[in-house]
Amino acid sequence: MNKFVREAKLWLIAIPILLWTLLPIYHIFLFSISTKDSAFSGALWPAKPTLHNFVVVFRQEHFYLHHFWEQIWNSLWIAVAVGVLTLAVATCAAFAISRLKVRGGRIVMNAALFTYFIPAAFLAVPMYKAMGTYGLLNSRWSLVLAMVTLASPYAIWVLKQASDKLPWELDEAARIDGATPLQLFRLVYVPLMMPSLVAIGTYALILAWNEYLYAFLLLSHENTIPLAVGLGHFLASDDSPWELLMATALVYALPPAAIYYAFRRYMVGGLTAGAVKA
């Protein structure tokens, strides 16, 4: 009986949360399978569901979609680059701070974390200026570098906490076995950190995939913007093609969902690894 009550309470909380989360997604889905006329009908299911919107999207048959494949490629390129670069920066930093105990390492990490006190929106203008100075504006690299900057402090912190948990004796055993710091990194540290690395890589990748503000600021050409900004362009006209916007959005939402699903085993463990100071 007691168990039943507890279970019931959990359901009472879970169901509203689930509805709250799924409602917008259902809304997107509903729009994407509706015809232009029926999109705003208010029905819970369209009278004539259609996949035509997706055909239009994939064939780039609309003014706003002329660069669809190019833009989704940009999104992918940028996200993967951000994931890889963030991982490279954060893994090396965490290894140096946590395992090699580099002097001043903690200060560097705390200083990096301190940057989170400044909202990313505040940093957008200086970032724009900096990229301009380096002549990177309108190059995908500008967004990659900006996103790596934003993702790295958190990534370093999580990886540092995770690597603190690796037994110290492993490093000592490896040192006695004759490993140089680089060999220790490559042959012992990285393999053991793999779950956390996957989690952090995914985190950075999805962060970049979803980014709008910086992408909008730093990239302005139809050929260089990621799809997130491309989606924004749909709203530029008075009569926006909502059904196409939603179909594109749904397509755009699928890769991160797939990645998250594939690595879900690592995500929960990896992202909370640093949560408690053990």
Binding site: E169, E172, A173, A174, I176, D177
Partner: protein
């Protein structure tokens, strides 16, 4: 095989001095055990020899070569850790061959060495397994195997048996000893367990508060402890020790006269006598039996004399029961006298 020499080795952590000038020579092929209570500096000394801690002052030499500024990997040593420190992502085979792989040895040689070590340690069926699939004793053997394949000059053991259960510990003790007899590699073994020290060592260095209290063969330490600390640390059950005063060629203590040699008239002493030297007799010092612990081959009695508890060990069975009075007849040759103030041995 190699010699190891510590010369006036010191170490401080911040303001705390943990080693006060340790000097110790370890012979080729010797099995040296460093034993002492936790915090005595024994592990620090071992880690300095391994190159895992900086040497504060003094010198450490392996085979005559001073290694103070030599990297761990160039000292030609192998270490077995208390936590085993096996690489969790490598199979037993890869764990054991790791050091050779780092040295860029040929795969053929690595396989051969690993196979030999696995045979010695009965690990052949487990070579493809991962550490998590092994029991504690098997992991310990893999850790030893990793040390063996390198054929190092010196083996270092840092409390290798502490994580094992009692029965396995005894078995592994014998295995390590047998291994040493077979390989004859100079070995430095750190433990807090005096029984491990007694059973395995060629020589024991008893450490206390960052100093070597006494250095000697196991039975020498047992029979002639030079300080009160060693007397109480070595031996199980521990030596009985109580306060007394030397009077007329014996020691007056606990309201009785205890035979002893040495000491000057009126000197305040600590009188020490091992439980097996306090056998019950027909007459002598009266004691009340509190607890009887029969162990088969021998019987341990907890007795009380003048509100002081003493342990008595008798061979065979005892028919004494709790509350009974028995008599103890200690002999002067078995008594250990220590100065009450300094704790130094007085008895000749």
């Amino acid at each position: 095989m190699a010699t190891v020499a510590f010369r006036e080795v010191q170490k401080s952590f911040g303001a705390t001095k943990v080693l006060h000038g340790i000097s110790l020579d370890i012979a080729e092929g010797e099995f040296m055990v460093l034993v002492g209570p936790s915090g005595c500096g024994k592990s620090t000394l071992l880690r300095m020899l391994a190159g895992l801690e900086d040497i504060g002052a003094g010198q450490i030499a392996i085979d005559g070569r001073v290694v103070n500024d030599v990297d761990s990997k160039d000292r030609d040593i192998a270490m077995v850790f208390q936590s085993y420190a096996l690489y969790p992502h490598m199979t037993v085979r890869d764990n054991m061959g790791f050091s050779l792989k780092l040295r860029k040895e040929k795969q053929g040689l690595i396989d051969e060495r690993v196979a030999t070590a696995a045979k010695i340690l009965n690990l052949e069926p487990y070579l493809q397994r991962y550490p998590r699939e092994l029991s504690g004793g098997q992991r310990q053997r893999v850790a030893m195997g990793r040390a063996i394949v390198r054929d190092p000059k010196v083996f270092l053991f840092d409390e290798p048996l502490s994580n094992l259960d009692a029965k396995l510990r005894v078995a592994m003790r014998a295995e390590i000893k047998a291994l040493h007899q077979r390989l004859k590699t100079t070995t430095v073994y750190v433990t807090h367990d005096q029984i491990e020290a007694m059973t395995m060592a060629d020589r024991i260095a008893v450490m206390h508060d960052g100093r070597i209290e006494q250095l000697g063969e196991p039975l020498e330490l047992y029979d002639r402890p030079t300080t009160l600390f060693v007397a109480q640390f070595i031996g199980s059950p521990a030596m009985n020790v109580f306060d007394g005063i030397v009077k007329g060629g014996a020691v007056e203590a606990l309201g009785a006269r205890w035979p002893a040699r040495g000491g000057s008239e009126g000197q305040k002493v600590k009188y020490g006598i091992r439980p097996e030297h306090l056998e019950p007799a027909a007459s002598g010092i009266a004691a009340e039996v509190i607890v009887v612990e029969p162990m088969g081959a021998e019987t341990e009695l907890l007795v009380k004399i003048a509100e002081t508890s003493l342990t008595v060990m008798t061979r065979g069975r005892s028919n004494a029961g709790p509350g009974e009075r028995i008599f103890l007849a200690p002999q002067a040759v078995h008594a250990h006298l220590f100065d009450a103030a300094s704790g130094q041995r007085i008895t000749t």
